[in-house]
């Protein structure tokens, strides 16, 4: 036995569930390791996300909807811990709905963003949530607000988030120009998400898009075989 054992190549780790080569999925947190994106155009916003939710290496949901309605014309894109972002979105949804009834008019996107920021900043030590808040209101038109981990709030004309976003910063910097129209924004978002999904293991599935304007919300899904494809190398 000893002779046979010495002929085997020596592996650094034994495959077992007690080390990190093989994950114990029951103890892994459910995460929307993800790619999300939001772009402003004149008259509204376009938002998009992939559809993969992972528990370690297992894809718990391959058709997730990460574009969550907060109000009629305000949506949020969720990234980070699925539990945390769902809980925050529910809380903000409730707070915003109540506020809107008090005001007797549709709420502002900036108000929704500030509510997200308030929760994310106050509980920053416990939470792991990166959120893009996007929508349309009568005062400022289409707006995108970024509330990353830690609880900062900043308005940007175009924002990406989630683990897959790092791969498309270069693409976004080079392809986004101010003054795009709605269809160009949709194309830019779909392309960027497709590129990120191809490189990020935690992003994938289908692309969910939504465009929000004064006329309402239009949602669409781009299935796997219809994803934008780029030259192969």
């Amino acid at each position: 036995m000893a002779a046979a054992a010495s002929m085997m190549p020596i592996f650094g780790h034994q495959i077992s569930s007690k080390n990190d080569l093989v994950l114990d999925w029951s103890r892994e947190e459910v995460s929307t390791g993800t790619t999300i994106m939001a772009v402003e155009y004149d008259g509204g916003v376009v938002i998009g996300a992939d559809s993969r939710t992972t528990t370690g290496a297992y894809i718990a949901n391959r058709v997730t909807d990460k574009l969550t309605r907060i109000h009629d014309r305000i949506y949020c894109c969720r990234s980070g811990s699925a539990a945390d972002t769902q809980a925050i979105a529910e809380v903000v949804s409730y707070q915003l709905g109540f506020h809107s009834v008090e005001l007797d008019e549709p709420p502002l996107v900036e108000t929704a963003a500030n509510l997200f920021r308030a929760s994310c900043y106050r509980y920053r030590e416990e939470l792991m949530a990166g959120i893009l808040v996007a929508g349309w209101d009568r005062r400022k038109g289409g707006q995108v607000y970024c509330v990353p981990i830690g609880g900062m709030l900043v308005r940007q004309p175009v924002a990406v988030g989630g683990s897959g976003s790092t791969y498309v910063y270069g693409f976004m910097d080079s392809n986004y120009k101010p003054g795009l129209n709605k269809d160009q924004c949709l194309e830019l978002t779909a392309s960027a998400l497709s590129l990120a999904m191809e490189r990020d293991g935690s992003s994938g599935g289908v692309i969910r898009l939504a465009s929000i304007s004064e006329d309402g919300v239009e949602r669409r899904v781009i299935l796997g075989d219809q994803l934008p494809r780029f030259s192969t190398h």
Binding site: Y167, Y169, G170, F171, S174, A192, E198, S231, H233
Partner: protein, 222 residues
């Protein structure tokens, strides 16, 4: 929360860096930024050249720990020139890449260096090889590496086309490096680019990356 910080965990002076190599019709472009930093806090060199010539038409780009990379390249150069004398012909690009790979693989526990090898030889024409941190060797048409490369995967996937012209490929490489330097705080400075063809080698230094940055970020002009 620490998993969200890009921790390079590289000992000593690290080339937190962006390196790139791409094949075009008739040759290959290889390039890098020029920043060497210590832990991402202090820039120890603004003008370091990470593109090293290992033979007449074979160049390497280094990433990871600068000390390790320099030591490996020094050893590889001497192996390669000896090999070239033995064979009585210029070494193949894959030979250079294999030498680097052997060194990286055999010493994988001590070393923390990765390489891009690009060159031209008479057998296979222009080629690009990647030797990763643990010593894997693969051949690709276009490849990027270093900490800044994560930000340009999307750009490179979208913009690279096989059989580009020399000018197109140079512009593509310059743009990609500029975009990466714009987002990665440990990449920066100027772009060192080398064009290798059958006819020879041309070195290019691109300093005007700040102009490219202004083009990509029109809001700066407001």
């Amino acid at each position: 929360m620490e998993k969200h910080y890009t921790d390079s965990k590289v000992k000593g002076v690290s080339t937190g860096t962006t390196i790139l190599a791409a094949i075009f019709d008739g040759g290959v472009v290889i390039g890098s930024d020029s920043r060497a930093s210590i832990g991402g806090e202090y820039v120890s060199s603004k003008t370091i050249n990470k593109v090293i010539q290992v033979h007449d038409r074979i160049f390497c780009c280094m990433a990871g720990s600068l000390a390790d990379a320099q030591a490996v390249i020094k050893s590889a150069k001497s192996h390669l020139s000896f090999h070239s004398v033995q064979m009585e012909s210029p070494p193949l690009v894959i030979a250079a890449a294999s030498v680097l790979k052997e060194l990286c693989y055999k010493n994988k526990d001590e070393l923390q260096a990765g390489f891009l090898t690009a060159g031209w030889d008479s057998k296979k024409g222009p080629q690009v090889y990647v030797v990763s941190l643990g010593g894997m060797l693969i051949s690709q048409q276009v490849t990027i590496g270093g900490s800044g490369s994560t930000y340009i995967y999307g750009y490179v996937d979208a913009k690279y086309k096989p059989n580009m012209t020399r000018e197109e490929c140079l512009q593509f490489a310059t743009n990609a490096l500029a975009l990466a330097m714009g987002r990665d705080n440990v990449s920066g400075g100027v772009a060192h680019l080398v064009v290798i063809t059958e006819k020879g080698v041309e070195l290019k230094l691109v300093c005007s990356l700040i102009e490219l940055l202004l083009i990509f970020h029109e809001e700066l002009n407001e």
